[in-house]
Subunit: 146 residues, 4 copies
């Protein structure tokens, strides 16, 4: 089957006081940190913690990011971040995010980021490590047989 | 003359150690803070400090943001942020940013944000204050006669 | 019994990439955010979420903070923050913190903060609300009968 | 002459919206960032930019920090940070800070940090580089002849 499955993951996190600003809502750049938390946990769930990628000599810098804000989250709100990414082993990871109020399910923000594998020493773009491609393959097998 | 002039402004800021991450470059969300610094100074240069808008009962929350990263800035780099926005008094401010290495002029990142006037009490979208429209009008007059 | 019991609480949190700096360790100010997370959860566990205190018209600004750093935490480390505070209903909360590597139990940092009840409207110091003193009293009763 | 001169430096910085929290004042950990900006500029003024120290193979991690808060700074406030340190070439830098409202000279916060030279490769404490001791010596000579 030629179709590319989507890897999907969901995690919860609580808004810190440090995240808020004088408008009483979460400062707009903080959502990119929430995105980071969510994709980190997604990669871990795929069997490939990002910290391990780094120790193998790879970095995954962000190439671009975009975000739309619908309603500002507030201090102590519990948020649910839904993150998804195509499961093909591309050198670029196109990741989508939806941030929801965990209590009401209201959509607060949504966005995308593109990450690229680079060699940690040279900083140059590089192919994803074999270990990463295997992790995605396994994930796909598990999903299609399920 | 029907053409809408662009307001342009440029400011410099230095990368703090706090801005960097374990890759040795500026963490990706920090550029949105740099954008904030630049648009704050642009509004001040237009004769309308953002703090004054707040004391008049307005907020200018960000509705969306997008950014492309070309090369990571490093600790202690001096950055130049060029910011521009159409001078028509719309309830939505469409602002563009270019972040450059001030020493080499290399483009490091560029992006956009949309901000909208809301009533600070109700949180509802609202017309920009008279004071803001006047400031833009004056800015336009000064520019066209120059 | 005249002795003042200590309220103790422990929570875990994971180091984000956003928390690290170019030395490869957590930036020194971030521990104060970890302190905030820990005391927020301690207050919640005492039956008095901080968000509720705010909605009752109180703020709890920090009056002072101190911290010693023993070893830098790294990206993706799971940290355990142990927080404690005397259970007497003082207008000043003297809170102590110990940050440990959750995997090895190694002490990474320890510190203190003092917080004070202020009236959210006037910003002036004020007595803690009845609701807060009751929460501590209940906590003490539960503990001494246990 | 046995007396140790104090190196003193002063810089100004403006409070960003990103620095504020839902209380409408600067979040308490942000002052440690302001401290970093001030000591960075003090070292640069001494003829020894911190970035240069790093490129020579040294890190200067923070060993401890303490701070007292007197009044919360607000968005767009211009702050003056006065920083001072003994000019003897110790492996530990004991630095003091005073944060003032630049407009009124009111003291908002004051604190201290201790930094220590470590070898960037091993992470072990080490003697300050010759280059650093020379910079302080020159600074002292300039000051005493002045």
């Amino acid at each position: 089957m030629a179709e590319i499955e989507m890897i999907e993951y969901e995690c919860e996190l609580r808004v810190r006081y440090a995240d808020t600003d004088a408008m009483g809502i979460v400062y707009y750049s903080k959502y990119l940190e929430y995105f980071e938390v969510a994709r980190t946990e997604m990669l871990r769930a795929c069997g490939l913690p990002y910290a391990e990628l780094e120790s193998m000599g790879f970095y995954l810098p962000v190439m671009d990011a975009s975000i739309k804000y619908y309603r500002g989250a507030r201090y102590d709100d519990m948020l649910r971040v839904r993150v998804s990414m195509p499961s093909n082993p591309s050198p670029r990871l196109s990741i989508s995010y939806r941030v929801m109020d965990a209590a009401t399910n209201e959509l607060l923000a949504e966005g995308t980021t593109t990450l690229a594998f680079v060699d940690a020493k040279t900083g140059k773009p590089t192919r994803p490590p074999e270990r990463y491609r295997n992790a995605l393959r396994e994930w796909n097998n598990k999903t299609s047989t399920a």
